[in-house]
Amino acid sequence: MKQQRKQIMAVAGFTFREAVRRKSFWVTNGIFFLLILAACIILPQMGGSGGAGPGEEALEGGAAPDAGYTCYLINDSAVLSDAGDVLAQRLEFDVRPVDAAQKAEILGKIRADGQVLLLELGAEQPPEVTITTKDFMSAAPTDAIWQAMANLYRVHAFAQLGYDAAQSEAIVQTQLPLAQEFAGGTNVSNYAAGMALMLMMFLTIYIHGYGVAMSVATEKSTRVMETLIVSAKPTRILLGKCIGMGLVGLSQMLGVLLFSTACAKLLVPPGGFGPGIALPSMTFVRAVLLVVYFLLGYALFSMINSMCGAMVSKMEDLQSAMMPASMVSVFSFYGGYFAMGVGPAVYSAGSVGKLMMYIPFTAPYAAPGILLGGDYTPGLVAASIGGMIVAIVLVAWISSKVYAASVLHYGGRLKFGEVRKLIKG
C-alpha cells in the first residue's frame, strides 16, 4: 500500500513539475492575469461612474440619454400629426419627414449608419408604429419611441374626450417610482461571478484534461510508457498523472481567483463596476463546494481524456481520438451555460438548473451559478456530488481497463471495438 502511494505520488509530482515548467502554462497564466488587470482598470472608467443612473441625468436637464439619432419619419397618421415635434423635443432626435417613396433610399442610409432609424406611423386608429433600425443588435431606443408615440396618442384621445390638454399630458407622462428587490440570491454580481467562474472552470478542466491526454499520448508515442509500466501498474500511473495535472489546474484556478480578488480590492473603487454591482456572495462553504466541483469535474473529464490518449500511438491521431470527449466536454459546458442563461428565471422553479446539477457532466459548469445564487438545498448538492462520484468511479474503472489494455498497443489508432476485444483478451 505504501509502495502504491509512493508510486502514485512520484508520477503526480513528476507530471506536475513537467506541466508547470512548460511555457504554455505561464503564457496562459499571463493572459489570464492581463485580462483581469485590464478589466479592473478599464471597466470602472467605462461604466462605473458611481453616481447618478441614466434616468436621473435627464431629469436634471442634461442631454437626453437617447439623443443623437437621425429619425426619418413617414407619418400617415392624422392623430399623431405632431409626432415629429415630440421626438425632436423629448428624445432630441434630428427628425426628417419623408415620403413612402423614399423608403428604399432611407433603408440604405440605415444600413450604412447605426445612428439612423425610420419611424412609420400608419393611417389606422390607433396607428400602427413601425420602427426600422440597422439590425437586432442595434441600440436604438425603440421602447422610448414606442412609449412616446403611445403617450401622444393617449393625450390626443383625452383631448377628444374633452379633457384639458396640459392635465392630460401631465397624467400620461407621470412615472411611478420603482424599486425592484430580489428575495433569491441571484443578483447581478453573483450572476456575473458565476458566469466568470463557470468559464474559468471549463477552461481549466478542458485545458488540463487535454494535458492528461497529451501526456499519455506522448509517453506512448515516445515509448516511455513501456519503461513506466514495468515499474508501476498502469492504474497507478493513470491516477498519478490525473492527480498531477489536477493540481496544476487547481493551483492555476486558485491563483487566478486570488489575483482577481486582489485586483478588485486594490484597483476598483466601491461601485466601480457600476451601480448595484458588488463583490459576489462567496462564503467559505460555497468556496469549498466550488473546489469540490472543480476537482470532481476535472477527475471525470481527465479520466475520459486519458483513455483517448492511450488509444493512439502517434500524436497526430490524438485530435481525432479526442473528438468524442471534446464534444461531451463542450456540450456539457453549453448545458451549464444554458442553465446560467435562463437561470435566474428557473433556478427557483428548479427545472433547468437542477437538471444540469443532476447530470454529472454538466454539474461542474452549472454549480458556480447555482452556488453563488444561493438557490440550492443541501439535498440538491449532495445528490449532485453523489452522482458525480458514481460517474467518476464508473468512468475510472472503464478508463483503467482501456488504459491498461491500450498502452502497449502500437500501430493505427484503436477503435472502440478493438479496445473491447483487448480488454476481454
Binding site: 509512493k6 508510486q7 508520477v11 513537467e18 515509448r223 516511455v224 513501456e226 519503461t227 483478451g425
Partner: protein
C-alpha cells in the same frame, strides 16, 4: 535463485503469439532469446514481467510469480524511450522512485551511473540535446538504477556505435559475473553467441531449439573447413570431394559432409603435406549460430510450405 517459465501461451485473436513456451535459468549469467522479428520474444518478456496478461502457463522467480515475488527486475525495451524535454538527472530520479528508491537514494545512484558511463556532465541537460548513444546510456541507467537482480534487455546493442557497444559489452559481462540473471533478446546471432550460455530459438511463437549453446553446436559436429594456401590446396580439396562455399580474403570456405567429416579432413591434410603443400590455415569449425538459425527457420518454413 532461478527463473522458471513453463507453458507460457499468448493469443491475440486467432494468432498464437507465444505457444506453450518453457525454459528455465538456474544460474546467473546471460540467457538468449533469439528469433526473427515477430517470433514472440518481446511478448514473452512482457508476459514474464506481467505487462501482458498470460493466457496459459506461468513465469516464476524462486517459485513465486515474477511480478509479485518482490524481485528487483529491470527492463530495457527494444524501442528506446526517454523524456526528451526533461533533464537527465530529473528523469533518472523519477525512474528510481518508481522502482522503489527514495529521492536521495535515486539521485545518488543516478549520479554514480552517470559517472560510470562517462555522461556526468549531462546531468542537468535536457535529453533531446544528447547524442543518440548518450540517450541510450540514459535508458540503460534507468534500467539499472535500482540494482535489479533479474534483467531483460531487448535488442540492447541495436544502433550503438563501436565505442558504446564495447561499453555495453563490458557492462553485460560484469553483470553476468556479478550474479545477475540477464535475459537477452536479439535477432543478432553474433551478439547472442558472444554472451549466452543457453538459448531458446523462437519461431512463430514456438521454441524451435533450446539448451546449452556449446552442446547444440557440438551436436552438429564440424561442418566447415576454412583453408588458406596455394591454389593447388584448394584444387586438392575440391578433388577430395569438398564443395567450395565461398572465397574470402583470408581463404576459401568448404562445406564438410555430415558423415566422417573429421576423417576426410585428416586424409586431405596428409595428402597436402605429402605433396609439399603447407596450408597457412586449415580450420575445422562447428556451424555458427547464424547458420543453425537459418537452417532451423528455413526448415520450419519448408515444413509449412509442404504442409500448405
Amino acid at each position: 535463485m532461478a527463473l522458471t517459465v513453463s507453458g507460457l501461451t499468448k493469443r491475440f485473436g486467432s494468432n498464437v503469439a507465444v505457444d506453450n513456451l518453457s525454459f528455465s535459468m538456474q544460474e546467473p549469467g546471460v540467457y538468449g532469446l533469439i528469433g526473427t522479428n515477430g517470433a514472440g520474444k518481446t511478448t514473452t518478456i512482457r508476459m514474464i514481467l506481467d505487462m501482458l496478461p498470460i493466457d496459459a502457463g506461468e513465469a516464476r522467480w524462486e517459485g513465486k510469480p515474477v511480478a509479485k515475488s518482490g524481485v528487483r527486475f529491470g527492463y530495457m525495451p527494444e524501442e528506446r524511450g526517454i523524456y526528451m524535454k526533461t533533464k537527465v538527472l530529473e528523469q533518472l530520479v523519477y525512474y528510481g522512485q518508481l522502482r522503489g528508491l527514495g529521492k536521495r537514494e535515486a539521485a545518488r545512484a543516478a549520479r554514480a551511473w552517470l559517472r560510470r558511463l562517462g555522461v556526468a556532465e549531462y546531468e542537468t541537460v535536457i535529453a533531446e540535446r544528447l547524442s543518440k548513444g548518450n540517450q541510450q546510456k540514459i535508458q540503460l541507467i534507468s534500467t539499472l538504477i535500482h540494482d535489479p537482480q533479474l534483467l531483460f534487455l531487448d535488442e540492447p546493442f541495436s544502433g550503438l556505435d563501436p565505442l558504446n557497444t564495447q561499453l555495453f559489452h563490458d557492462l553485460l559481462q560484469e553483470m553476468a559475473a556479478g550474479g545477475k540473471f540477464v535475459i537477452l533478446s536479439s535477432h543478432q546471432m553474433s551478439t547472442v553467441e558472444e554472451y549466452c550460455r543457453e538459448i531458446t530459438l523462437l519461431h512463430k511463437g514456438r521454441a524451435l531449439l533450446q539448451g546449452n549453446l556449446k552442446r547444440i553446436k557440438a551436436g552438429y559436429g564440424h561442418t566447415r573447413l576454412l583453408l588458406e594456401g596455394a591454389e593447388e590446396t584448394y584444387k586438392m580439396a575440391r578433388d577430395g570431394g569438398l564443395t567450395q562455399l565461398e572465397t574470402r580474403a583470408d581463404g576459401a570456405v568448404f562445406a564438410l559432409p555430415e558423415e566422417n567429416a573429421d576423417q576426410l579432413c585428416e586424409r586431405l591434410l596428409q595428402r597436402m603435406l605429402a605433396a609439399g603443400l603447407m596450408p597457412l590455415k586449415f580450420v575445422l569449425s562447428e556451424p555458427t549460430l547464424h547458420e543453425i538459425f537459418i537452417e532451423k527457420v528455413a526448415g520450419e518454413a519448408g515444413k509449412g510450405g509442404a504442409a500448405a
